[in-house]
């Protein structure tokens, strides 16, 4: 491959775990690179030397972790520190150390090999542990093992090399300690092959405010050290070898983001009220209870969508009622949040990976998923409903059923819920007396019969992602048709308008919890429709609130009215974007996405 091939511009999509935009140079950091070699010791006499080498590496690792911890204490909050404490304890764990030394002695192998065997041993043990959280701790053991191995190789003093002020680390995976070290070394940002939103690495990245994208799968194989690179932690995108034009665009975005960060948080705490006093409730969409503090600090007034899938994902067995309950209990009645909308099991379709023995479907988006699945697996459904009902005793709870396509489904879901609730009451277990029941409006048939559904529920929540996909018949993951995914399609706008109008006529509250709700450019359109609640990714709240606070219901209605006269999605898009550009020049100054 010549140099030219390396200069090709390409974009990779991963998971943005820590917002912000940085432009710099790739520094490939291979934490597995140490080229670990496993070998048997030539003679028994070398054993004590090997044990000494192992202990020295332990000491060195401890020193490094303590250093990271101390520096981190000065720079960041308390939360990320505890995971470093856990790593320190593993490092000092007698069982861990003794097993490794025993392997060295008994098998006459080098320390690297012995460490690997110890890790494998714990992996086997932890795999049998039922608790999903504890199971995940094997990654911490592995991080510590790698750290010791690296120190066995000697030389490197830093967890992450000091790569200078413009460096962006690209790695297969990073440990929380690596991440903390990056802040200390003033690394601009990082991107990794592995990882997810809730890995400790992601949590630390957010705490130390280093823009990061994870889950890129194979970025380490696609870039080389010193390549130009942009990491957009807000969008979850990485641009490799950007052309000068693109660098300029992103530089604007970056500056804009930084200004925005400061000024938006000022708007975050204030209620979302227009200048002519129209109030919109603002919810946060969350998947993990760990996201609650971010939601509150960014101005969420309640949890508008708690996705419960995480409770099920990657489990061999179905979660118990207690597991459900401990999650729901954590989001209900939280100080600073007025309500929590919990969406029941919405698995199947694209979110489903490790399944509770579900057969593969040809067309999962249209298959046995969400409420359909729950009504087939009533016992499993009841476990979740019982836990939600119990949690409702602790604060304002809204329960929301996904993918309702007909009246029987909501009636049946309610019947089961009330059966569960009555049973709890009979047994003297406290249950909230103001639980509200609602449906997700995401199947076109639900829009058409919204008047009938309204008789059954307290609220609607429009799930725009699925509604758009089903209404426009486009597969969201098929890149060849994504150009057709258009929230401003007149058909979509009419569907949404119908839901809101019908809901309001029937006295039903209407929320929106799809991605559309968090897009600043659509805010006035949604205001014009008189939506009651917008629920979105918490990081999107400050901008949306700012726009609401600076607009009026009157002009929003006028904009909507105008837009509804257009027949083409492209025309609507252009009109809305131009309008918002002129109306909020500061907010919409950057081009592109």
């Amino acid at each position: 491959m010549g140099d030219d091939a390396g200069k090709r511009t390409f974009v990779l999509k991963g998971i943005g775990v820590s917002p912000g935009i940085v432009i710099g140079k790739v520094h490939l950091f291979d934490r597995f690179d140490a080229r670990v070699s496993f070998y048997r010791l030539r003679e028994k006499d070398l054993v004590s030397e090997e044990v000494k080498r192992f202990k020295a590496a332990l000491k060195e690792s401890e020193k490094q972790l303590l250093e990271v911890k101390n520096k981190l204490r000065e720079l960041a909050g308390r939360e990320p520190l505890y995971i470093i404490d856990v790593h320190l304890l593993i490092l000092k764990d007698k069982m861990f150390i003794n097993h490794t030394i025993k392997y060295i002695k008994d098998l006459c192998i080098n320390a690297e090999w012995a460490i690997k065997m110890t890790i494998d041993r714990y992996r086997d043990i932890f795999e049998k542990v039922e608790d999903e959280y504890l199971k995940g701790r094997i990654s911490d053991i592995r991080y510590v093992g790698q750290m010791i191995t690296r120190n066995l190789a000697g030389g490197k003093k830093d967890v992450v090399p000091d790569i200078g002020a413009k460096g962006i680390i690209i790695a297969v995976d990073l440990s929380p300690a690596d991440t903390a070290q990056m802040m200390i070394n003033k690394v601009l940002g990082f991107a990794t092959d592995m990882g997810g939103k809730t890995s400790h690495t992601a949590i630390v990245a957010r705490a130390v405010e280093i823009p990061a994208v994870v889950g890129l799968e194979s970025i380490t194989k696609m870039v080389r050290t010193n390549d130009d690179i942009i990491v957009d932690g807000s969008a979850g995108l990485v641009v490799v070898n950007p052309d000068p034009e693109m660098i300029k665009v992103y530089d604007d975005k970056r500056r804009h983001f930084e200004i925005a960060q400061e000024s938006f948080l000022k708007y975050a705490k204030l209620p979302a009220v227009t200048r002519d006093n129209y109030k919109v409730d603002i919810g946060g969409n969350i998947e993990f209870i760990e996201e609650i503090p971010t939601a509150i600090s960014h101005g969420a007034e309640g949890i508008g969508l708690y996705r419960t899938e995480f409770i099920y994902i990657n489990k061999e067995q179905l979660p118990t009622e207690e597991e459900h309950f401990s999650n729901y209990r954590s989001i209900v009645g939280v100080e600073g949040l007025k309500w929590a909308t919990i969406r029941t099991f919405d698995l199947g379709g694209d979110k489903f990976y490790s399944d509770p023995k579900l057969a593969k479907e040809m067309n999962p988006q249209l298959g046995l998923r969400a409420i359909r699945f729950c009504l087939k697996e009533v016992d499993m459904f009841k476990v979740q409903l019982r836990a939600i009902a119990r949690a409702s005793a602790f604060g304002k709870t809204r329960i929301m059923f996904p993918m309702i396509s007909g009246i029987e489904e909501i009636r049946e879901a309610k019947r089961i819920f009330f059966e569960v609730k009555d049973d709890l009451i009979t047994k003297g277990i406290p249950v909230g007396d103001d639980i509200e029941i609602g449906v997700m409006i995401e199947v076109p048939s639900a829009v058409i019969i919204a008047d009938e559904l309204a008789k059954e529920v307290d609220f609607f929540s429009i799930g725009t992602n699925d509604l758009i996909q089903y209404a426009l018949a486009i597969d969201r993951i098929n890149e060849r048709v994504t150009y057709l995914y258009e929230p401003l399609h007149p058909a979509v706008l009419r569907l949404i308008k119908q839901v809101i109008d019908v809901g309001h006529k029937a006295g039903v509250r209407v929320a929106m919890c799809g991605e559309m709700a968090g897009e600043p450019a659509y805010v006035m359109i949604l205001l014009g429709l008189e939506i009651d609640e917008l629920s979105m990714n918490p990081l999107a709240i400050p901008r949306v609130k700012k726009i609401i606070q600076e607009s009026t219901l009157e002009e929003s209605k006028a904009l909507l009215e105008k837009v509804m006269t257009f027949s083409s999605a492209a025309v609507i898009r252009e009109f809305v974007y131009n309008y918002m550009h002129e109306r909020f020049p500061e907010e919409f100054q950057t081009n592109g996405t």
Partner: protein, 89 residues
């Protein structure tokens, strides 16, 4: 001296890494040998990894066994930590 006492885990997340770390910080202060037992599984009370493998959820019962001069104090201090829900929730 051998002191044995059983406690109920009352914090909602059970014995997760952070609280296990707190237990270790206390148990390693004592000279006594310390063991934790749950459902017939025994863990070294001074090993974080060992304790984690017990996987004690909310409501599980954990038996602490301490052997040595300061066994009584050890069980007392560890028990207090558990009763106080490790200072969490």
């Amino acid at each position: 001296m051998v002191v044995i006492k059983t406690f109920e885990i009352k914090n909602k997340l059970g014995l997760h890494a952070r609280v296990a770390a707190k237990l270790i910080n206390v148990s390693t202060r004592f000279k006594s040998k310390i063991f934790f037992e749950r459902d017939g599984k025994v863990a070294n009370g001074k090993s974080l990894l060992s304790i984690l493998t017990l996987a004690c959820p909310l409501g599980s019962r954990l038996t602490i066994r301490a052997e040595g001069m300061d066994a009584r104090e050890a069980v007392e201090d560890l028990g207090k930590l558990i009763k106080d829900k490790f200072g969490e929730d």
